[in-house]
Amino acid sequence: MTGPRVLFDLPGPRARRRQRIGSALGIVLVLLLVGLALWRLGANGQLEGERWAILFDPATNVPQRLLEALVNTLQVAAVGMVAATVLGALLAVGRLSEHAWLRIPVVAVVEFFRAVPLLVLILFCFLFLPQVGLSLSAFGALALGLTLYNMAVLAEIIRAGILSVDRGQSESAYALGMRKWQVMSFVLVPQAVRRMLPVLVAQLVVLLKDSSLGFIVGYMELLRTSRSLVETLNFSFGPRYTFQLYVAAGLIYILVNVLLSQLAKYIERRTSQNAKTAGTHGVAVAADIPLATGEAVGQARV
């Protein structure tokens, strides 16, 4: 279906007028609701400039702490992203292996880690691993949990990518006399990764969002830091700045994630124009890949 236009006629003058009136009413309604919320906020004193100024006043140490928290968030996400991508590629190759002794354990690992909630994995790394002598900091537990979960998801994405590469590619590589590992690592995986790049980046956005679970194991990422700032400031001033700090944390998350999503869209446009990948596409890859996370499904638009 080529865009939404197929579903309705282009509106005529009367329909357009009706739509404009309806839209205006709708906008007024939304503005009313926003206004109502702002009014209640104002009535509770939440909109005072002084309360918001704290977010930008270096003397209070708040901007520094938030920046530090953002760096912490990005750090754990970066470690998770790199480790999960590398392990995911290995698992994807392992799952496509012809040797049952390799394939079956890999399938079990992938399916297991996709089916268990991330939070349970993080808690496992945080609470259980120290008991068996593997002491992990909150950072380590969070990074390991993120890696374990996302490597399984990424493995499935990369596997779908490998399967979507034209059979002719591997056939000609074999015909050139390449060994199996050469075909995989020089021919199939590079093309698969490039083909799946938009979905991969989308999953990495999910990973970044999920790093906010560090909140529960006490890693000082954005959310946890806002909480601790709220507690410190409450101690001296009472609950004056609670709302402002949480809004700030939320906005930073949205900003960073929107930037990453835009990057994904940009990459998607770039790769679809690229002659090297354009030659082999026409396979609807995204729509039916069994992605375990709903988050990546958004990329499945055709």
């Binding site: 279906m1 939404p4 197929v6 579903l7 309705f8 006629d9 509106p11 329909a15 739509q19 309806g22 839209s23 709708g26 906008i27 939304v30 109502l36 919320a37 209640r40 906020l41 509770n44 297991f112 089916a115 268990v116 909630p117 991330l118 939070l119 349970v120 808690l123 496992f124 609470l127 259980f128 008991q131 956005v205 969002k209 999920d210 906010s212 679970l213 909140f215 529960i216 959310l223 709302f243 949480y246 944390a249 939320g250 998350y253 949205i254 994630n257 929107v258 999503s261 729509a287 039916d288 069994p290 375990a292 996370t293 709903g294 988050e295 499904v297 958004g298 499945a300 638009r301 055709v302």
Partner: protein, 216 residues
């Protein structure tokens, strides 16, 4: 094993809480997400813009942050959910609706344009052609992505544990603190409970997919 028997009631209640959290949020998210998807393909630009804004916002916000705002933020505009469970349902369904919307929209896009053209040629208006021709076909093609959204939702319910809902993960934390010596058993039990939900869902989705798939 006697340890598990002692805490069987606790685990069973937690399992039911997790399951009902997922089911209730899933239904709300499905309805809301379908409405959003219809808005995104509707003839009215304002509705399209509103739905797009909603989806982009919620897709880029961590679920934990959504929880935070519904649990602690809306107090400042003098609103409050009556129970913690409802807070969790609201957070999960608002968040998941964005992903349902994207899945359904991809399904709408996958319906061949001839179908919508034929519907319009028969004189059906936008609402009729969407609800009687396009959406029924769209839903059949999006069974796999919607299934993934459902499984993700079932796993995401674990975040409610951080907000005072006694679901499986909350019980995991509680039992882990109280029985440090039985930790492996606690984890095994809770993971097993989650696997029961996710793996059986995956199985049912596979069956539905085969039954409903349209071969074109």
């Amino acid at each position: 094993m006697s340890f598990l028997a002692d805490n069987f009631d606790l685990l069973r209640d937690a399992f039911l809480t997790t399951l009902s959290l997922a089911v209730v949020s899933g239904i709300v998210a499905l309805v809301l997400g379908t409405v959003l998807a219809a808005m995104r393909v509707s003839p009215i630009p304002a509705l399209r813009a509103l739905a797009t804004f909603y989806v982009e916002t919620f897709r880029n916000t961590p679920l934990t942050v959504v929880f935070f705002f519904l649990a602690f933020g809306i107090v400042y505009i003098d609103l409050q959910f009556p129970t913690r469970f409802l807070t969790a349902v609201a957070a999960l369904s608002l968040y998941t609706a964005a992903f349902v919307c994207e899945a359904v929209r991809s399904g709408i896009n996958a319906v061949p344009s001839g179908q919508a053209e034929a519907a319009r040629a028969l004189g059906l208006d936008f609402r009729q052609s969407l609800s009687t021709v396009v959406l029924p076909q769209a839903f059949r093609t999006v069974v796999p992505p919607l299934g993934n959204v459902w499984i993700a939702l079932a796993k995401n319910t674990s975040i409610a544990a951080g907000f005072a809902v006694t679901d499986l993960t909350a019980v995991l934390q509680r039992l882990a603190n109280a029985n440090a010596d039985q930790l492996a058993m606690v984890f095994a039990a809770v993971v097993l409970a989650y696997l029961v939900i996710t793996l059986s869902s995956a199985w049912v989705i596979g069956i539905l997919e085969r039954r409903l798939a349209i071969t074109r």
